[in-house]
Symmetry: C2
Subunit: 232 residues, 2 copies
């Protein structure tokens, strides 16, 4: 099997009811991305140890992803935070945010800044590993260009400019790499926008045929893993 036991692969029709903002194919009729891959935080970091990369696993995953373009598939990558970001986010309550959007405590600001530095550090490791395998990987770092309101994407989906930017990278032959991030939130000041939300949105907007989840658990889920009742 392609992902060496790390693979769960879902057809993209499962990932959401909304249609793409505009045509989800390139001018030549191909999908913007054939495959959207989520590298789980548990697969690329040592989740119990603060800010520690699992470089053996990350390198193996990137080596496998590098075979996709050679087989004619275009791909976009999303990764979680794992031990980069989660600790800070939890310690400082970044996901909960503030009571008033524009009145953040000094402590919450510190936590937000540290969380964002941590996830972008992991992103740099992922980009480095993908480049090493010859993939032209380009980081897309959401904050402050992508915002939420009460923890949901403003307008319920990615903005046209975000979709255009992602398609612009793919159309030029790059591999966009997005990460779960600490973002600005209209109602609670700050929030966490997870990699799983990006998976749903990118699959839809890029016309992807497959969503691949690389985790530290063997096997295939019965449903998208974020839905209740999903089983291995």
């Amino acid at each position: 099997t392609f992902m060496g036991g790390l693979l769960s692969c879902l057809p993209c029709k499962d990932v959401g009811p909304l249609r793409p903002t505009t045509g989800c194919t390139r001018p030549d009729g191909k999908a913007w991305a054939d495959v959207v891959v989520k590298i789980g935080g548990s697969a690329c970091t040592k989740k119990a140890t603060f800010e520690t990369l699992n470089d053996v696993a990350l390198s193996a995953i990137c080596g496998q992803l590098a075979t996709l373009p050679k087989e004619g598939f275009s791909l976009a990558v999303v990764h979680g935070a794992g031990s980069f970001g989660h600790q800070h986010a939890k310690e400082y309550g970044v996901s909960k945010g503030a009571e008033k959007a524009m009145a953040l405590s000094e402590r919450l600001r510190e936590g937000f800044a540290k969380t964002r530095l941590s996830v972008t550090t992991l992103n740099k490791h992922v980009i480095t590993a993908l480049l090493k395998e010859g993939l032209p990987a380009v980081s897309m770092s959401p904050c402050p260009f992508v915002e939420t309101s009460a923890k949901k994407l403003v307008g319920g989906r990615l903005s046209p400019s975000t979709v255009d930017g992602t398609r612009g990278l793919l159309g030029r032959g790059f591999v966009p790499v997005v990460h779960g991030d600490a973002v600005l939130d209209e109602s609670q000041g700050v929030a966490i926008l997870s990699g799983d939300v990006w998976m749903v949105e990118l699959c839809r907007e890029l016309g992807a045929k497959s969503a691949v989840f690389v985790t530290d658990v063997d096997g295939v889920f019965t449903k998208p893993p974020w839905e209740s009742g999903a089983q291995l």
Copy 2:
């Protein structure tokens, strides 16, 4: 003097004829950023040595910047690439781009990806140094959210969503930190969007009273340093 001989400080009325997209002050009438600071690549990196930080200078600069909020000034920071990014960009011709926007050579893609990884690595160092001094610094990484056309910003200025994101960070008490970057270009595929362009645009859109340039050269310029005829 504030910047220990590294300072050149210009009133922001000099930086461009266009008015801000919308009101350049906060609801309470204050500027979104009182000061926009450019940390030149020559000031924070060892420009002749590939990807080498000048950590002593960077730390000193950040220590001085940390005094601004204590004195009641809000600030935004822009930094150049220095020895992070310039070599790759030059070697691979990233600034020149491609003849057709969507037909990039494999080599140009590689150069773009490496340039972007390099400048975001420097950005991480700058954020780390600012956080160490207690400033809630948050990275704004332009690509692919900010695009150019024939090397100029699309529409001649920052998009409303980019301006809103920057103001959103400042309104919550963060210090936005933008870097010169490799970006997507509508006409030549890819291009470089320099930190100096960000200086002009942010001063205008944030209603800044001062633009501060931290370089490795002592003294004050007679004009904005990007204008012809500017002299020390």
